[in-house]
């Protein structure tokens, strides 16, 4: 008998605009040693499903139908006291935001002990032993010392490990993980995923892993269920789903992701037209009908589950209609970078206020060169200073040192002192689509005001300009009259891009413009950026923590660590060894969706530390897996030049190449194989 059997589960929410069905008719079973990955975009109801599976009724739940049988117990029929006995002890949950799940006023060790005593009824001494064991089990070194810390004294990755330790300490039969790595850096995410992979074998517990990220699911899950608009549309073993996706939605999702070795010159990304259908627009037919490119008359009747292969079934009338979605062909029309330089930022440095006496160095002596018509990708973990560098270039922050040379002229540091021509030629797109537009103004007002401030246009000229810009970002002119709250996240970002392109800028600074968007929207916006560049021959500085996107889009890549540039060069040269050890770790932290891809695991020790910046030697050496020891600690590393690329390290190119090529399946090699 399976551990968990969910049959025809539906959950309704009561909202101000009536009832909304968040989960509709979901059926699945989970065996005792399985890891089920549930993948879906925002609004697909995956978190609601996770809660309903536990028998938890979230606030605002109007009705829950169907049945959930956990090891023979019908959870939906349980009384609260019975549920409390099952929760924690037998079903444990790890949430997305560990800071919200931990009590800020209590040392983390005590929180583990409290949970253990509450659920297992053992004495304090035994509970402490369990606590130390589980902290060690999640690879927290020096468990006794960590246990005394408060949540705010730990890094995001450490906090999430504490949450997993709490779950583990109860030895549950089922662990539900709801986007546990979404808020973490790629390198930290990789470490947490390693940990989960390791304990899933050891623990023998079943897991449900929920994520919007297909790459993460591909790494961790044994079975995958794809969720769309509250319904499961496909379910099967991970290899089957990734190699032979049967549902058009799954196929489209996979086509949205840039694979390793794929660049804008070799292939174009797919995206899914339209958006999640609103509740009242969901008909009786297939849930994906409105966005499916392979829909027919028949799809107006809801399809039944159809088997595709062993254990792999799909809810589609045409499970084999693989050809219906256009194959990934044809590169985007991309401009070629030319020799003259649009932007040259030299030795920019920016310190922020004094915390405990010492200034926080956000950016130290970083330089950046942007050739005309090129896309420069700026990557690094959070805290690496990439956003600050961008803001210094834009003039939103006054740098402490350094110069910004733009179109052959040295610019004043502050945006307020730059003249209109410069403002017109340098624009910016921001990260958060929710705050990028003024909620008090309609789209039209925002855009008109923007262009009129920079160019003395008449009202009708400004109007024409706005309409053209909206058209460029593929929005209907009717959108002018809408308020930002009437737009989806992707549409808001489109308007923000339209705003940046109103004045036909030479340089657009993009500060993580894709990171808050769903995968299917991400690729559409990504394509939009490329098309706009093709039309306007503008240049971009593109900041992102998503390496696959940067490798796809950028002509050259700059890697930052703790406010310093550690490696830079042409994008395709990053497929070749050697790489700066930090870049190597960063690249290997991005899991690949191709199930067969072997990737070398390079994991960083420790965490980003402010103290490392004041080291006399290499700032990366405390976390470096290839450190030479005293030499790296004491002497600042020199720039090492290789063809089309340079990096700061004590290892000479030949030595580093030998080191990195030594282990089988080195990343450089896989990336090359993927490209050929």
């Amino acid at each position: 008998m399976p551990l968990l059997e969910v049959a025809h589960l539906s959950v309704d929410y009561q909202t101000t605009r009536g009832r909304v069905r968040a989960v509709n008719d979901v059926t699945f079973a989970l065996e005792r040693d399985e890891v089920l990955g549930i993948v879906g975009e925002s609004g697909s109801g995956k978190s609601t499903l996770a809660q309903a599976v536990m028998g938890y009724r979230a606030q605002g739940t109007a009705a829950t139908e169907g049945s959930v049988s956990f090891d023979g117990t019908l959870l939906l029929q349980c009384r609260p006291t019975e549920l409390r006995r099952i929760w924690g002890r037998r079903i444990a949950m790890v949430h997305q935001n560990p800071l919200a799940s931990l009590t800020p006023t209590m040392p983390v060790g005590d929180q583990v002990i409290e949970t253990v005593r509450q659920h297992r009824g053992i004495d304090a001494v035994a509970a402490r032993a369990v606590m130390l064991r589980s902290l060690t089990a999640v690879n927290l070194p020096d468990a006794a010392r960590i246990a005394k810390r408060y949540p705010h004294e730990l890094s995001g990755g450490q906090r999430q490990r504490i949450m997993i330790a709490i779950a583990l300490s109860l030895e549950p039969d089922l662990m539900i993980l709801d986007e546990p790595t979404t808020n973490l850096d790629a390198t930290t995410e990789a470490v947490i995923l390693d940990l989960l992979e390791e304990i899933k074998g050891r623990l023998g517990a079943a897991m449900i892993y929920i994520s919007h990220n297909l790459r993460v699911i591909a790494r961790i899950a044994t079975r995958v269920a794809v969720m769309y608009a509250g319904e499961l549309v496909e379910s099967g073993p991970v290899d089957g789903i990734l190699r032979a996706p049967a549902h058009p939605y799954t196929r489209a999702l996979l086509a949205c992701l840039p694979r390793s070795g794929m660049t804008k010159r070799t292939a174009s990304l797919q995206w899914i037209e339209g958006e999640l259908p609103a509740q009242h627009l969901r008909g009786q037919g297939c849930i994906f009908y409105s966005r499916c490119s392979a829909r027919t008359e028949r799809c107006q009747i809801a399809p039944e589950w159809a088997p595709v292969a062993a254990g792999h079934s799909v809810r589609c009338w045409y499970p084999q209609a693989a050809s219906a979605v256009a194959a990934i062909t044809g590169a985007a029309t991309v401009g070629l970078p030319s020799a003259d330089v649009v932007l040259e930022a030299r030795d920019l440095a920016k310190n922020f206020g004094h915390r405990r006496g010492a200034a926080v160095r956000a950016v130290s002596d970083a330089s950046l060169r942007v050739p005309r018509g090129s896309i420069v990708g700026l990557v690094g973990e959070s805290g690496s200073g990439k956003s600050t560098l961008l803001r210094c270039i834009a003039g939103l922050e006054d740098p402490d040192r350094g110069t910004v040379r733009f179109l052959g002229v040295d610019l004043p540091a502050s945006v307020g002192k730059r003249d209109k021509a410069v403002l017109r030629s340098m624009q910016m797109v921001f990260q958060d689509p929710e705050s990028t537009l003024n909620p008090a103004h309609s789209v039209g007002i925002s855009l008109r005001r923007h262009i009129q401030a920079m160019q003395g246009l008449s009202a009708t000229d400004a109007q024409r300009c706005v309409e053209k810009a909206l058209q460029q970002v593929r929005l209907d002119p009717g959108y002018q009259h809408r308020l930002p709250r009437e737009l989806s996240g992707g549409e808001k970002q489109r308007v923000a891009i339209a705003r940046a392109f109103l004045s036909a800028p030479e340089l657009v600074l993009c500060d993580e413009p894709l990171s808050s968007l769903d995968v299917s929207v991400q690729s559409a916006i990504c394509r939009l950026f490329l098309d706009l560049q093709g039309d306007d021959h503008s240049s971009y500085v593109f900041v992102s923590h998503d390496l696959s996107i940067v490798r796809y889009m950028a002509d050259s890549i700059v890697v930052m660590y703790l406010g310093e540039v550690v490696e830079e060069g042409s994008a395709e040269s990053f497929d070749r060894l050697p790489l700066h050890p930090y870049t190597e770790a960063l690249f290997s932290a991005t899991p690949d969706v191709d199930p067969g891809a072997i990737s070398k695991r390079v994991r960083l020790q420790g965490q980003v530390s402010e103290a490392d910046k004041s080291r006399p030697g290499c700032i990366f050496s405390p976390r470096c897996h290839l450190t030479k020891g005293p030499e790296c600690d004491a002497i600042a590393p020199p720039w090492q030049e290789t063809s089309e690329r340079r990096y700061r390290c004590h290892w000479a190119p030949e030595e580093l190449r030998a080191l990195q090529a030594a282990s089988p399946g080195a990343i450089g090699a896989t990336a090359l194989a993927g490209a050929s």
Partner: protein, 290 residues
Amino acid sequence: MNARAAPVGVEVLAPPVFGRRYGLRLAVPVAIVAFYLLLAVFGPMAAPYSPTDFNTGPPLTGPTQLHFFGTDGYGRDVFSRVLVGARSILLLSIVATLFGVSAGCAIGMISGYRGGFVDEALMRLVDILLALPGLLLALLILTSLGPSGVNLVIAITIVFVPKSARIARSAILPLRGLGYVEAARLRGARWYSIVFRELMPNVLPELAVEFCLRFAYALLLISSLGFLGFGVQPPTPDWGLMISEARNYVSIAPWTVFFPALAIGIVVVAVNALADALSSTGERRAAQYL
């Protein structure tokens, strides 16, 4: 990022709100305040007697058909005096609140947005003003300027500026680093344009609530100053002044104190209730932006 956890476009609410509660909570105080404003405009016309005429009836008689609220020590009609008194107190309160809250909010918003030295300097000035209790500060100003309607408005404006500045500043602070503000800076917008054209529309609900709260406080302050003899001067009918003049008779003729006090009490409670209702609808409106 957290938005991923909740279904998009689904506004999850706590148990269904009593359908009409929000409506009533707003409608009742609005009706009362509107009634008072009508009094201020038409009160003098509706008054059965001149408010300053002595011996309209025997002094200190209780409420009768001729004198609804009785008469005071000089035989003046309390009902007429309460009706006519509405105009001066409401007019003075509204004008003083408008000046005080507008100036205070402007200072607060500028201070909050600009930060740095401007913020530091303005806020220290505000701190100095805040160190004195409101009534004391108003008394101080009125004793040096002399009691008059104009000086009353000046005094209350000065009392209100620091308090409103604090509120407006804290409303602006979380907005100053948002994307749309930075976009405005990138098109070369000056600080005043950002503060008043980009930011102010987004804090208007908070400012409206602040205006209502200050208005209620102004009514109290003017009555208190009238009571202490620093507000409107006799024989002009004024609620605070009326209470002050009649306080010697409170044991033998309580109506002379009760009715002006009731008039003050009802309007202050109504305006406070209005502020309360506005702030909760403001929150609901704000929630829609998310």
